[in-house]
């Protein structure tokens, strides 16, 4: 199918470029419009907009960062996402390695539990977690949000790394242990370094899930001080005077780290998707 492109007739080639243009506009236009609207002066927004803004302004970013809770929310999002990533890595590495290398009954239960967790409606987890956090006095904290994100990211990490460790020959660790490594040493010095691509993928998806989450934040976070960016942006929708420029600036700022990460690490994103480490 891809073999003989040079001999393709002209109409077919034109059709391909037209389709490519449609795909590009469909995927990128809303994103472009978000960025453009965050830079377009208000008086220009009120008349018929041009495709390219006639002049650019950083007013919305300035007012967003100096007059709203946005910086605080950004920091909250960052704290929650990074903590979630760290805990996801530690837990899923330990569990996946244990499940792969140890032969005992009951490990099927762990794997099955992880699979079922994929199918849980978010509210089936959010309602009991909220009740549990309330009874221990953790309700409304960033930690409660981290723990609820773990219910999604940990199964994902275990599931993905389990597939990764399975393919790694046990002889590698045996050789290291023959050479005098302890089991832990063999794990840390041989298995983990070889697993870096898998670890990066899990970290990316854990970050993505936590950074973009709205549902759990809506249930868990009650105070303005602990709001994450998705929650903060969502509460702007209902505001009396909706300032679209501010909203689009806030949206652009939270999307940029994801786009930057994608540009640098796109191979891991694709690898994660095709191996089933995914966000819904």
């Amino acid at each position: 199918m891809t073999a003989q492109s040079g001999s393709r007739p002209l109409p077919a080639r034109i059709a391909i470029y037209v389709a490519a243009l449609i795909l590009a506009v469909y995927s990128a236009f809303p994103i472009y419009w978000m960025v453009a609207s965050s830079l377009r002066p208000t008086q220009e927004m009120l008349v018929d907009p041009t495709l390219l803004p006639r002049s650019l302004t950083l007013d919305y970013y300035y007012s967003l960062l100096s007059q709203t809770d946005y910086p605080r929310q950004f920091l909250n999002s960052l704290i929650v996402a990074l903590t979630t990533v760290a805990l996801t890595m530690v837990l899923s590495i330990m569990i996946a390695y244990g499940v792969t290398r140890q032969r005992i009954r009951g490990k099927q239960m762990i794997i099955a539990g992880m699979l079922y967790a994929y199918m849980f409606p978010p509210l089936l987890l959010a309602i009991p977690l909220y009740a549990m956090f309330t009874s221990v006095g953790l309700d409304g904290t960033l930690l409660s949000l981290v723990i609820s994100h773990l219910t999604i990211t940990m199964p994902l990490g275990v599931w993905f790394l389990w597939g990764f460790f399975k393919t790694m020959p046990f002889e590698l660790e045996e050789a290291a242990m023959v050479d005098g490594c302890t089991r832990l040493g063999a794990f840390l010095r041989v298995v983990l370094p070889l697993s870096v691509p898998g670890l990066v993928t899990v970290a990316i998806f854990a970050f993505l899930l936590s950074w973009t989450d709205y549902t759990f934040a809506l249930v868990m976070i009650t105070s303005d001080a602990n709001k994450t960016v998705p929650l903060g942006l969502a509460s702007m929708i209902g505001a009396f005077d909706l300032r679209w420029g501010d909203v689009m600036a806030g949206s652009t700022l939270i999307a940029m780290p994801l786009f930057a990460a994608f540009v640098m690490l796109s191979r891991y994103f694709v690898q994660g998707l095709t191996a089933g480490a995914v966000k819904g």
Binding site: L23, G98, T182
Partner: protein, 286 residues
């Protein structure tokens, strides 16, 4: 140390699974048997009363139906568009690597941003879509006010956000189909359409089975798109089970019924997945 490393790792696994997954799920099911008016007052045993009330209400069946319509249409559109995009991105043309990246971008966005940008683009007076439609002489669409339009809105947003998942996974599958199969089909005189239906689709059937399963599970459970776009409205026209469950538990403060809806919705999904496996068994272990 050496002897206890793996059992230790597994113990962490068992505890984490119990605390994070099994415990909350069982707790949710148990909450559904209680009448709980607030989290500070003592829950009262209600037996099956919450289930009886939920199943007797029109709301539950309305939400179930809306969920089937929403998930069903969103999945069909995602899969058809995703396969189309993947076939395109598998053709050689100038700029293909960049377009593959661009086609992935919507998947990275938080739902909130997609919803906000959509609302901004269709804003009644300043939205670019509204202005363009007006310029073309088309009648305005009230995206969130009529029943059909609001369902169309939530489906459009969902399709836009998650088509890249299908595109990327299907494209990865396309690259594993041996070119000899296409050569053989070509020699036999099969055109592009027949090659797609007789070579591509059968080769990618296992991948497609998994893609549809995953997308189906997620679309059925998806809460945020509908909640942020319409809140389930107008008049319940887009309310599906996750929104109903949230509304009962957190705006009506009837946690027992909210948990009952979540539990029922889980069992509906389990039944659907079991049925799906009956019709489309996934060959090999995955």
């Amino acid at each position: 140390m050496t002897r206890w490393l793996l059992p230790g790792f597994l113990a962490v696994g068992v505890i984490a699974t119990l605390v994070l997954i099994v415990g909350p799920a069982l707790y949710a099911v148990s909450l559904s048997f209680y009448e709980i008016r607030s989290l500070t007052s003592a829950p009262e045993w209600a037996g099956l009363a919450n289930y009886a009330a939920v199943l007797a209400s029109g709301e539950f069946w309305n939400a179930l139906w809306n969920g089937i319509v929403y998930a069903g249409l969103a999945i069909v559109l995602q899969v058809v568009l995703g396969i189309g995009f993947a076939l395109l991105l598998n053709q050689p043309f100038v700029g293909r690597p960049i377009l593959r990246g661009i086609a992935f971008l919507p998947y990275l966005l938080p739902t909130v941003i997609a919803v906000l940008t959509f609302k901004w683009m269709v804003d009644g007076s300043l939205g670019i879509v509204t202005i363009l439609m007006d310029d073309l002489g088309l009648p305005p669409i009230y995206w969130f006010e009529t029943e059909t339009a609001s369902m169309v809105s939530v489906i459009l947003i969902s399709v836009w956000l998650w088509t890249p998942f299908v595109t990327t996974t299907f494209l990865a599958g396309l690259q594993t189909v041996p070119p000899q199969l296409y050569e053989a089909a070509r020699v036999d005189g099969a055109g592009p359409v027949r090659r797609f239906f007789h070579v591509t689709l059968p080769s990618l059937r296992p991948i497609l089975t998994v893609i549809i399963l995953l997308r189906g599970v997620w679309m059925f459970n998806k809460f945020d798109v509908i909640w942020l776009t319409t809140g389930g409205g107008p008049l319940g026209a887009t309310e599906h089970l996750p929104v109903l469950s949230y509304r009962m538990a957190f705006t009506l403060y009837d946690i027992g019924s909210g948990a009952a809806v979540a539990t029922l919705s889980f069992f509906v999904l389990m039944a659907a997945v079991t049925l799906y496996f009956r019709f489309f068994p996934i060959e090999g272990g995955k």
